[in-house]
């Protein structure tokens, strides 16, 4: 289906400007000239150019912003010229199907045209007798539609709750003008006399500015997530002063609390106070994050986590008093009876925008805010992950849980970047990577205490390698990619994976050079340095591990995004089962072996040095016990990968069995080409030298070999794999929810495979349902 939104190449603003400035050489030019002549003769009627409907939209916005909010209730009464006769005369010259075109206005450009009186495009067609044009801020005041002073608690609560709903709808990706700035109070808060309302509206406006900045700096936003740019003329009307918002809110809170002490019935006013307090703490957190994004010096006294806790504590009180505020009227799009005009910006929206936006209801909006605060709390934990391996794991987990919330993802990126600058100063990512390799598999050349680290030749090679890692930007991008939405992540991972190859080559070169230096040192008789340098696959292993990780995420995310047809499951599960997960396990096992060898070497060294001291021996003897606790730092992850391996094997054999059994719908062969599809699916891996690409021919051979088994045997093999997965998962102590879900999948699929192996539904071949509700990567196979 072709999207009806405007193509990026066709800028309606430019087109309209061009049309007005230089009338095209249409036959319709006659009508345009006639219209111009009539316009001249009507100047005595005080026709204002600012009210001319067909002026360039940018000009209209400029003039409108100059007067804060234009009164458009009188709009239709000015400036119109009747061109019906001229129009009919021009049309009479056209044959049916004949179109007027110009070099700069052809069929493509015509798609951006607005057809007069078409209900879908002509915004004026939306008005009828029962739906008067929406009033402006000034008009609403004049007619008494909104109050500026002496608002009741009920009115304040209603407006506050409606504004929070608009804020949430905006964060979900809707146009700022179509949600937040339907609130007339936000157009000119300075004119509001009621202090509680004025400070709240000012806080909202400042919050808009601050949030936009956080999202812009984090740079993990796409057009489908959030509209970062757009009509912000109203936003510019009053300058943002975020630094003063906190104290303004606090003052009003304190004033209202003092007022409550004089009143007998305080519940409603306290409900107002709770909302102000919630806004104050939410604002404080978000403003502080924005300061972290743009400043190297940040107030260390501010504890974001504690502020978030206070904000959370306000929410139950707010939820319990939702019904105390004024409520939206039935049948109205306005989120509150007073203060909101849903269609006030109809004329300023591009034609491609939705005609109306459904603003979130109040309970679910507060639910959204509560979940957002939980995500912010979770994001605060990123500061304790000091190396690339653990930070990347955190980002991957966070991405799975942060859903579509662009602000949460941006906050995490900001906290991480700020924390890095604090920890590593200038060139933070370079120092971070250096530190990360050391933590990952502890190369002796990165250990400052080790004698080999002082060798200037060694240091030069290390410097070159890490500078190269930074220049390629691959590791930085991997963490940033986790901040994009799930669909964009996959697109960007495809490009990232291709970049790993050059870094792999450089890492291998570095390891090779370390080996060479080790041999040189050995020949020089420097045995300790030679032995240290022999542990030399550190950098290759580190790079490969991260590359394999990216590949696995890319491949399996296709299930999460529903990109794979069922008949493709066979080769998608085959590749991680046969290759990729094994590579990951090898990398981690090799790393553990390196660490173990180093510990043995260090132990040997210390024993040799302390051979002559009895007292020292007793003290050293305690070390081996401590070391045993950290000898296998990647054991848990390796065990998890063994479970994934068995699950992929189970799915691979299951798909083979189901295909051979005639239960999988295959595409017709007229246009389809499996080899092309296969190559397409593994395209990002094609440029890597490690792991080497696996050709379609190779896959075909493996599959043909597997398919020689009987259907019953294949189902049985699949069941065995699922049973292996169950065994592995059950051996894990303290399993998290993901492991419990995988365990259920393994158990259920084990049963299903055995049922099929025994001949269930032998006469009726139906494609099973693959239920991914338990896990993004692995389905429960359900027979129909």
């Amino acid at each position: 289906m072709y999207p009806s939104t405007l193509p990026a190449e066709a800028d309606p603003s430019t087109m309209n400007g061009s049309s007005v400035a230089e009338p095209p050489d249409f036959q319709a030019a006659t009508a345009a000239a006639a219209a111009a002549a009539r316009a001249s003769s009507l100047e005595q009627d005080e026709w204002s150019v600012g009210e001319c409907g067909f002026l360039d939209p940018d000009v209209q916005r400029t003039m409108r912003s100059g007067s804060a909010a234009e009164d458009i209730t009188q709009y239709p009464m000015h400036g119109w010229v009747d061109v019906t006769k001229e129009f009919h005369d021009a049309c009479a010259e056209l044959q049916p199907g004949e179109l007027a075109q110009d070099m700069l206005f052809g069929l493509f450009e015509a798609m951006s045209a607005i057809e007069i009186m078409d209900p879908k495009m002509d915004v004026g067609m939306g008005f009828d007798k029962q739906d008067l044009p929406p009033p402006s801020f000034e008009a609403a005041i004049a007619t008494g539609a909104i109050k500026l002073d002496d608002l009741t608690p009920s009115e304040l609560i209603g407006i506050y709750d409606a504004l929070f709903s608009c804020l949430v709808s905006w964060l979900e990706g809707n146009s700022m003008d179509q949600v937040l700035f339907t609130c007339l109070y936000l157009h000119a808060p300075a004119q509001i006399k009621d202090k509680a309302l004025r400070v709240f509206c000012t806080a909202v406006r400042n919050l808009i500015v601050v949030i936009k900045k956080i999202i812009a700096v984090a740079a993990v936003n796409e057009e489908e997530d959030f509209q970062l740019y757009g009509n912000s003329a109203l936003l510019a009307a009053e300058k943002a002063q975020p630094a003063t918002v906190y104290s303004s809110l606090k003052d009003v809170e304190d004033e209202l609390i003092r007022k409550c002490k004089k009143l007998t019935s305080t519940e409603d006013w306290m409900a107002v106070v709770h909302r102000l307090r919630f806004m104050r703490h939410l604002f404080q957190v978000i403003y502080h994050v924005e300061q972290m994004a743009s400043n190297d010096t940040v107030d260390d006294k501010v504890d974001i986590y504690k502020i978030l806790l206070v904000a959370s504590e306000m929410l139950p009180g707010i939820r319990n008093t939702l019904d105390r505020g004024t409520q939206p009227e039935k049948g109205s799009d306005a989120p509150n009876p007073m203060g909101f005009s849903p269609r006030i910006h109809d004329r300023s929206q591009p034609p491609a925008f939705p005609r109306s936006i459904k603003i979130r209801d109040r309970p679910s909006s507060y639910q959204f805010l509560e979940e957002m605060i939980s995500r912010f709390k979770y994001a605060c934990k990123v500061t304790k992950y000091k190396d690339y391996y653990s930070a990347l794991n955190f980002f991957i987990e966070y991405s799975k849980k942060s859903g579509q919330c662009i602000l949460s993802r941006s906050v995490l990126q900001t906290l991480f970047s700020a924390n890095m600058r604090m920890a590593h100063g200038k060139l933070p990512m370079k120092q971070f990577l250096r530190h990360s390799v050391q933590v990952f598999n502890s190369p002796p050349v990165l250990n400052a205490k080790h004698p080999v680290a002082a060798d200037p030749k060694v240091q030069q090679h290390l410097e070159n390698f890490f500078r190269y890692c930074i220049n390629m930007n691959t590791f930085t991008q991997f963490i940033r990619i986790c901040g994009f939405n799930r669909a964009r992540q996959r697109d960007k991972l495809a490009r990232l994976i291709e970049n790993f190859d050059t870094i792999q080559v450089d890492a291998a070169r570095l390891d090779s050079m370390m080996n060479q230096l080790a041999n040189e040192r050995a020949m020089e008789g420097n045995e300790p340095m030679a032995t240290a340098l022999k542990h030399s696959t550190h950098f290759s292993t580190w790079v490969l591990y991260n590359c394999f990780r990216a590949m696995l995420i890319f491949l399996m995310s296709g299930f999460e995004l529903e990109l794979y047809a069922v008949h493709e499951f066979l080769y998608i599960y085959w590749y991680p089962y046969e290759f990729l997960i094994g590579f990951l396990v090898s990398a981690l096992t090799r790393t553990e072996n390196i660490l173990l060898a180093q510990e043995e070497y260090a132990e040997h060294q210390s024993k040799t040095q302390s051979g002559g001291s009895g007292a020292a021996k007793n003290r050293k003897a305690a070390k081996p016990k401590k070391n045993k606790k950290t000898q296998r730092p990647y054991r848990a992850e390796i065990v998890f990968y063994h479970a994934l391996l068995s699950l992929c094997g189970g799915m691979y054999k299951a798909m083979g069995a189901l295909t051979k059994d005639g239960r999988v719908r295959l595409p017709l062969s007229k246009f389809d080409n499996e080899e092309i599809r296969y190559n397409r699916r593994f395209l990002p891996f094609a440029t890597l030298t490690s792991p080497p690409p696996v050709s379609y021919a190779e896959f075909k051979n493996v599959r043909e070999h597997m398919m020689r088994h009987s259907v019953e045997d294949l189902y049985t093999y699949a069941a065995k794999h699922f049973d292996q997965a169950r065994n592995v998962l059950e051996s894990i102590q303290n399993p998290d929810q993901e492991m419990l879900d995988l365990l259920q999948i393994a158990r259920t699929n084990f049963v299903v495979m055995n049922v099929l192996a025994r001949g269930h539904q032998k006469e009726v071949k139906r494609q099973p349902e693959f239920d991914f509700s338990k896990h993004s990567y692995f389905p429960i196979i359900k027979l129909k």
Binding site: S4, G97, L107, E224, A487
Partner: protein, 211 residues
């Protein structure tokens, strides 16, 4: 990669079939005759679409019919200029299905050169009247369109469809399309879309890296 990319070769399995050859010859010969109504023979799904015949777009009188078929089925609010853009630029890639005098289905496509130098076909719209579902008309229209674009040496054919449009997804999947990407909030109604692709030649284009 060490090996040079193999030259793109059009898949011509179908050309050995006599009926297919005859059909393609007919299409090729008549492509320039925009003003003349072209009646195409029934295709492989003749058994299901008995009584249905097909033609290409030829003049303005069909525009209202086209708009009527599409507006009923799809969520996007197209203007008449959108329809004109396609059918006046690529009239021979707009196929109608008729039951007697009644228009019951339509497919609208375009074919243009991409900056990598290959031709890319695009299926913009496909709709079948609700009363005529499950008779293979959608498949027949799709196959005709793909054949027409393949004859003109299209390297690939792409389209987008809504996440929730299961019948369309099933149809395109059975024709060999893969869902290459998912676009979040792609349509005005907020729905996600799949970007579907059918490669007729095997080569590496740049589209996977377009972000």
């Amino acid at each position: 990669m060490g090996d040079a990319l193999p030259e793109a070769v059009l898949i011509q399995k179908e050309l050995s079939d006599k009926d297919s050859q005859e059909k393609m010859d007919l299409v090729t010969k008549n492509l320039p005759l925009f003003a003349e109504k072209i009646v195409l023979p029934e295709n492989d799904t003749a058994a299901k679409s008995e009584g249905i015949h097909f033609c290409v777009f030829h003049d303005e009188s069909q525009l209202k019919v086209l708009m009527g078929l599409i507006d009923k089925e799809l969520s996007e609010p197209y203007s008449i200029y959108t329809y004109r853009y396609f059918v006046y630029n690529w009239p021979d890639l707009c196929f109608f299905a008729l039951d007697g005098d009644r228009y019951v289905g339509v497919i609208v496509c375009k074919l243009e050169a991409k900056r990598d130098g290959y031709l890319q076909g695009y299926i913009a719209m496909l709709a079948v009247d609700a009363e005529y579902r499950k008779r293979g008309i959608g498949r027949a229209l799709s196959e005709m369109a793909i054949d027409a674009m393949a004859i003109r040496d299209a390297a690939m054919i792409v389209l987008e469809t809504e996440l929730s449009n299961k019948p369309a997804l099933a149809l395109y999947q059975s024709l060999g399309f893969i869902r290459e990407r998912r676009f979040l909030r792609y349509y005005l109604n907020g729905m996600d879309a799949f970007h579907l692709k059918l490669m007729l030649h095997d080569f590496i284009d740049s589209s996977l890296n377009e972000v």
